[in-house]
């Protein structure tokens, strides 16, 4: 992550969205319910943030019906991974003096 040019990203910056991106960056896909549990927000709040990330092209949402239950999984897109990596690099740049 250190070789990436630091860049603040206003879409990723709000804490829940930063958390969502941080979780998704560590895996290929993560189910909506698992993200909700890890972030500690309600379904509606998570949906709102996911929608904003999706509109920015950072998160892909996939719905599948398995055993008559609908499951929603989330994944960071390539652009999302790049933006998150650059944002974390910016956080590191800011804290370099610590």
């Amino acid at each position: 992550m250190t070789a990436v040019a630091p860049r603040f990203d206003a879409v990723i910056h709000p804490p829940p969205r930063l958390q969502i991106c941080g979780l998704l960056a560590a895996v290929d896909t993560m189910e909506f319910a698992a993200v909700r549990d890890q972030v500690g927000v309600s379904d509606s709040v998570l949906s709102k943030h996911v929608k904003q990330l999706e509109e920015a092209g950072y998160v892909a949402v996939r719905k599948a019906t398995i055993a008559s239950r609908q499951r929603t999984s989330l994944a960071l897109t390539r652009a999302g991974r790049a933006a998150f990596t650059a944002h974390v690099a910016e956080l590191r740049r800011i804290t370099e003096g610590l």
């Binding site: 804490p15 958390q19 941080g22 979780l23 895996v27 290929d28 896909t29 974390v88």
Partner: protein, 160 residues
């Protein structure tokens, strides 16, 4: 973590966000390790496929391979249900280079043992040679799966 505002992060806020991200990764690591039976089942599936070669019956081998493929699909579904995630440690996460290197060694060893086992079983007519090869590779597969998970989780816990 900080509130929702644009670009005016100070050092303390940035440090808090980094610390929160690292905390989230450590918490995520806690849920990623599969139960022991998952690795044992994976190894058993490989053992079953390779061991079936010793029966010298193509239909049996094909049948076992189809059943093993279905079993593999079941294991993937079980993992996703248990952890709520799916990941390929060769492509995402903190130990990609390490895992890719290990996989290259694994594939090389797999190919060598498979060829030796087939030669022994079919050319030298050492009945049961592929059962032995299946047992060795199945055990190695289960252990490798366990190792990958452990390395991945340790990498997540080590921080960003």
């Amino acid at each position: 973590m900080t509130g929702d505002h644009d670009g005016d992060l100070d050092v303390a806020q940035a440090a808090a966000q980094l610390a929160a991200l690292e905390g989230d990764r450590a918490a995520l690591a806690d849920r990623l390790v599969q139960p022991w039976w998952w690795d044992a089942s994976l190894g058993f599936l490989l053992f079953a496929v390779l061991g079936s070669y010793s029966l010298h019956n193509s239909w049996v081998t094909v049948g076992v391979a189809v059943a093993a493929a279905a079993g593999l699909g079941g294991l993937v579904a079980a993992y996703q249900r248990i952890t709520g995630t799916w990941w390929d440690a060769r492509k995402v996460g903190p130990v990609q280079a390490q895992v890719r290197r290990a996989m290259r060694w694994w594939l090389a060893a797999y190919a060598v043992l498979l060829v030796l086992g087939c030669l022994a079983e079919y050319q030298l007519d050492w009945r049961g040679a592929m059962v032995g090869v299946g047992a060795v590779l199945g055990t190695a597969c289960g252990l490798l799966s366990r190792w990958v998970s452990r390395a991945y989780v340790a990498g997540l816990r080590a921080g960003l």
